[in-house]
């Protein structure tokens, strides 16, 4: 183990893993936003959110079966980035309308348990759609990489087995894969868009006001139910964007991926300060870095321990997360 630590430690590989961590972190952040937005408005940990992401991946997988040959497939990607987020968004709105909305006045534990229930239902839907074994997309949508063993794949492998060291020491040329460029090109506009929406538009201000005091928001003439639906819609859009990028980058999906990635993203939201939008981004990147560096330098089997260990240590010293406000002002 120690030997292998020395063998791996070169600046070049370190920078690649850091980059990789940042990229995975951006994906976690995208999912984390769905948790944090909903929590900010109705104080519900929407456990089903990760599975909405999973179904987005499943949808992407099926849509990819209809993908045209490369390079025509490049036109197909924007289509994916349109269809999948819209479907995830509609799914999220429907879940809110059918399950959470009727429970709005119930004690807080009730919607929380219902969210778990919805999560199981969605997992079953995913299982029915693709079965229990992992599935890989066959179509080639992006230009082929000059270097097949991209570091992304390696980190993935490293998290799966401890014996990836052989592969990890292999030299590599490309820093960014095409999928990574797609990721960056999706995440940055999406997050900028959200920031602008929340900060400057009237409906964005209504969202902030509702999060800060829902009763006062109603008294201002804000249709709070509409704001809640919009929040679920936004969360769905981000889950859908993450799903497309994730599926094209990792290329393998399974029906339980929503549980694991959802948990990482939720941790990211909590670490950053649940309810805080910049917090979710920061938390996502932090978790991504631990995910990537932990897998390589500590060992794939320890990744989860590292992530949740960080969560616990951080919450001991900063219970409200990095950027969270301490206690919500409640009268």
């Amino acid at each position: 183990m120690d030997l292998c630590l020395f063998a791996e430690f070169s600046f070049q590989s370190l920078s690649q893993y850091v980059l990789n961590g940042l990229l995975m972190g951006a994906l976690f952040a995208l999912i984390a936003l769905g948790y944090t937005l909903v929590y900010g408005i109705i104080e519900l940990v929407n456990f089903a959110h990760g599975d909405v992401f999973m179904l987005g991946c499943v949808l992407t997988y099926f849509l990819c079966m209809f993908a045209p040959e490369y390079p025509t497939s490049l036109i197909f990607i924007p289509l994916l980035l349109l269809i999948v987020p819209i479907c995830c968004s509609l799914l999220n709105i429907t879940i809110n309308y059918l399950v959470y909305r009727p429970l709005r006045k119930a004690p807080r534990l009730v919607p929380l348990v219902s969210a778990l229930g919805v999560s199981f239902v969605l997992i079953n839907v995913g299982q029915m759609a693709i079965g229990t074994s992992p599935k890989s997309i066959q179509a080639q949508l992006l230009p082929s990489e000059t270097n097949q063993s991209s570091a992304n794949r390696e980190t993935e492998n490293a998290t799966r087995s401890n014996e990836a060291s052989e592969e990890l020491t292999r030299p590599r040329r490309s820093w960014l894969t095409w999928a990574d460029i797609l990721l960056i090109g999706t995440v940055i506009p999406a997050m900028t868009g959200l920031a602008l929406l929340v900060k400057f538009t009237k409906i964005g201000k209504a969202m902030r006001a509702t999060a800060q005091n829902p009763i006062a928001a109603r008294l201002m003439g804000i249709n709070v139910e509409f704001v809640i639906a919009l929040t679920f819609a936004l969360g769905g859009i981000f889950a859908g964007l993450a799903a497309v990028v994730f599926t094209l980058k990792i290329t393998t999906i399974d029906y339980l991926m929503g549980y694991k990635n959802g948990l990482y993203a939720f941790t990211a939201a909590v670490v950053g300060g649940v309810g805080s939008i910049p917090g979710a981004v920061l938390g996502g990147i932090l978790i991504g870095l631990i995910y990537s560096l932990g897998a390589v330098y500590i060992g794939g089997a320890w990744v989860d321990a590292c992530i949740f260990g960080t969560l616990i240590i951080l919450l001991v010293f900063r219970p409200s997360g990095i950027l969270g406000t301490r206690v919500r002002e409640k009268v």
């Binding site: 006001a209 800060q212 005091n213 008294l219 003439g221 709070v224 009268v331």
Partner: protein
């Protein structure tokens, strides 16, 4: 007599199985200040929240300018011209003073008019102008109360519901706020004022109701209530 601007007819409201309002009837004539006084827990806040549509009504009717509003969603009631400054102020703590005022004008789209009304609010409570860039949560209790009233006025309401504007404030500040309420009323604003500070409320009101555990037990001109021995014993500490 003219049609009342607000009328509650036998309003019942419950939280779960607990009935809090047991069929109360209240009338507010246009351009008047009407006060509802009562002990803590009598149901004053519930009354205002039922009127504003934030708590569902069980039975009875609420008419605003003759139109039934007891099945109307809260955001539409505000649009009809009925605004509330709620108990505990409920300022948006992480919005600035100016943004809080802008939220008050959420249902409006006339930018110039909104800007004009913000200036009017600063005229009514000059301290808010000095604080306009400060976050709502950093204001003192009195400043928050002023902001809550000013914010409610930003929708250009026909009527104002005020829930305990004097609560927890120093006497000097209370006087300022009650002066402002009277000034608004002189300009034609109808006001339904809920107070535990009965003496103060009855002094500025035209009409008063006494609410005891969800039932209206007295209804008379405010001056009359001020001199009623039962009111004096129970609410004026004499």
């Amino acid at each position: 007599m003219s049609q009342p601007i607000l009328e509650l007819k036998g309003v019942h409201t419950s939280y779960g199985v607990i009935e809090v309002l047991k069929g109360i009837s209240i009338k507010v004539e246009p351009k008047q200040i009407v006060t509802v006084i009562g002990a803590n827990g009598a149901g004053k806040t519930t009354t205002l929240m039922t009127i504003s549509g934030c708590v569902p009504i069980q039975k009875g009717e609420i008419l605003f300018n003759g139109q039934p509003i007891h099945r109307t969603p809260a955001h539409q009631i505000l649009k009809m011209g009925l605004a509330q400054s709620p108990e505990g102020r409920k300022i948006f703590p992480r919005l600035t003073v100016k943004e809080n005022l802008e939220m008050g004008a959420f249902t409006r789209n006339d930018k110039a008019g909104i800007q004009q009304d913000i200036e009017k609010a600063y005229h009514l409570f000059p301290i808010l102008k000095d604080r306009q860039k400060q976050l709502g949560g950093t204001l003192s209790g009195g400043e928050q109360q002023m902001l809550a009233i000013a914010r409610a006025l930003m929708s250009r309401p026909k009527m104002l519901l005020l829930d305990e504007p004097s609560l927890g404030l120093a006497p000097m500040i209370i006087l300022k706020i009650f002066d402002a309420i009277q000034e608004l009323n002189r300009e034609g604003m109808s006001v339904l004022l809920v107070e535990q500070n009965a003496r103060l409320a009855l002094k500025i009101a035209h009409w008063g109701y006494v609410l005891e555990t969800g039932t209206v037990t007295m209804s008379a001109a405010a001056q009359e209530l001020l001199h009623d021995p039962r009111v004096q014993a129970a609410y004026l500490g004499e």
